[in-house]
Symmetry: C2
Subunit: 336 residues, 2 copies
């Protein structure tokens, strides 16, 4: 590219937009679907039972320990599809870029997206790029939408939560939010703390194939574990009781939370899942998760009960129970 | 809603975000898929041959004669699917909203989206809302992605363009761009000139069902007719020759273009299509288009030739031929 920054012309339907496409986007995402250069991708699925989801990413800063906005955008949509019981296959990428954005940063973001897509085993098949005037956006915003093939005989729904089920979390909570907060405030965190952003689809596929009656899957992103569990308790009309001592949080993240007054249950994660599993399936599900890098610290953090309907309680280390409310107001803006 | 403007809290995963969802978004878009309130929608299609597309909308101003950003966002994706030979079924909506945005404007946008979806016969099945700080966006940006079912025996591709085909346009060119430009500069335009934004899917479905071998379909949005035809000429390695006198442009729009120095062939349209059709099918395709409100002014504007490969020429009223280049630089920023 002659230009080292994005200009308004890159957002036109004309020559500069084509150059951006041909020199930056297509080489990064290259695959047979994109190469057709059509208004949309034509795809042949192996089933007509699909899942479809979307998320926009506005994280600030754009680059942080362990990832960037592009990695979030790919993994987030892959994971949302997994949480519906589907195997992600194809995603779209819609970018809104602020005039003046460095093309080298764009190259880094799209090459990260390609690596994340490769790890997840999916294709970026269609996309769109808009440019807005300086001051009308904040660097770059990325939307992804995704299509997945639903796994047979699986029925994941928050309404399936029932008393007696165990609640599994796939690993340490709060890493992503702590990373973003630290980066935003120029605080030092140990190298062990970086975004947990990761594609969970391979692990989820094996979990669901082995145990199709997993009841609920959710990824605790914005609003954290507290928001997800409150939503499920309310929708399924059950109670949820967590064991404080069982909740996996890195020492470094816990210390960070103590200093800043955050509760790890409210922190966003980008590579974690919560599963509601029948008691008798719990060991089997955990043993599968433990085989995966992204599930090796999976553990049971609580259970579904038939009391305190609609509420989430936390049995504290000293034996009391405190209520874990739905988060009110804004926790941490632009976390993803 | 207690709040009359969007606050950062509406973008959290917590209570305010849920309230926005329950009081504004769900009531507007309501359908059985959305009501599941899952991370993604589970959909049963009637085929496993799909089309998938996305577009982000950053139009300025957000409201203009004949429509608003929400209408563009729904129709644009419906039309992109139609242009691949598919029948739009489901769309996702990802909104990025600037803190302070009036909730009454949001209500108007989402109710327009619902009406457009109803007209197109599609469902808005999944979505996401992010809020960014004041000054980090410009009101609201909307991304839509869409899934459509491909029509059997149809193969639409720019590569199908071949010498001898006629080039049909579905109606007056330039209305959308003229409307946006006039609105932006507080210029008066007659009531006859408003955005042409419209869902073309019903008309395209009948065209493709009756004439499955329509070769190419494209909607001339950003970059206008000139960009689309140049792309096709380059990709298919054909020449294109237009007849200036055949190109349908409203008198009012032509006058507007003359004053501001625009060429209608470079203006964006949001409810028009260009079809490349074999000579023997032309009358049949036109007669179908003429039955529809959005195709009643459809006409042939030129043909594909085997000379001047990769170029688009315009035979002028006085008999000369001038080259219609790919647009260079930015024509009209943020037109959609």
């Amino acid at each position: 590219m002659q230009e080292e920054i994005i200009t308004m012309a890159h957002g036109s339907g004309g020559a500069a937009g084509h150059e951006l496409m041909k020199e930056v986007l297509l080489p990064a995402f290259d695959n047979k679907y994109l190469r057709e250069m059509h208004d949309g991708a034509k795809l042949d699925l192996s089933t007509n039972k699909i899942a479809f989801t979307t998320d926009s990413y506005v994280v600030k800063p754009l680059f942080f320990a362990g990832g960037n906005i592009g990695k979030l955008a790919v993994c987030g949509t892959v994971n949302d599809l997994a949480m519906t019981g589907a195997v992600a296959k194809y995603i779209s990428v819609g970018m809104i870029i602020e005039e003046g954005f460095p093309i080298k940063d764009l190259r880094e973001i799209v090459s990260t997206m390609r690596r994340a897509a490769d790890e997840a085993g999916i294709y970026i098949v269609t996309g769109d790029t808009k440019v807005v005037n300086k001051g009308s956006a904040d660097g770059i915003f990325i939307n992804t939408a995704g299509v997945g093939e639903r796994i047979d005989n699986v029925d994941i729904s928050p309404l399936n939560a029932k008393a007696g089920q165990n609640i599994i979390v796939s690993g340490y909570l709060g890493d992503h939010a702590a990373t973003i907060m630290a980066s935003r405030h120029n605080l030092e965190l140990p190298d062990t703390v970086k975004t947990d952003c990761a594609p969970l689809n391979h692990m989820v596929k094996e979990m669901l194939t082995a145990v199709p009656n997993i009841a609920v899957l959710r990824d605790p992103t914005r609003g954290g574990t507290a928001a997800v569990l409150n939503e499920i308790a309310e929708q399924a009309k059950v109670g949820i009781l967590l064991e404080e001592e069982a909740i996996p949080v890195r020492e470094e993240v816990r210390g960070f939370c103590d200093i800043l007054g955050f509760d790890p249950l409210y922190l966003a994660n980008e590579g974690k899942l919560i599963a509601f599993v029948n008691a008798e399936d719990t060991d089997k599900v955990l043993s599968i998760m433990h085989k995966y890098e992204y599930g090796k610290h999976a553990c049971v953090i609580g259970k579904v009960i038939d009391k305190a309907i609609g509420e989430v309680g936390l049995k504290t280390a000293v034996g009391g129970i405190r209520i874990v409310d739905m988060p009110q107001g804004e926790q941490i803006p632009r976390i993803c």
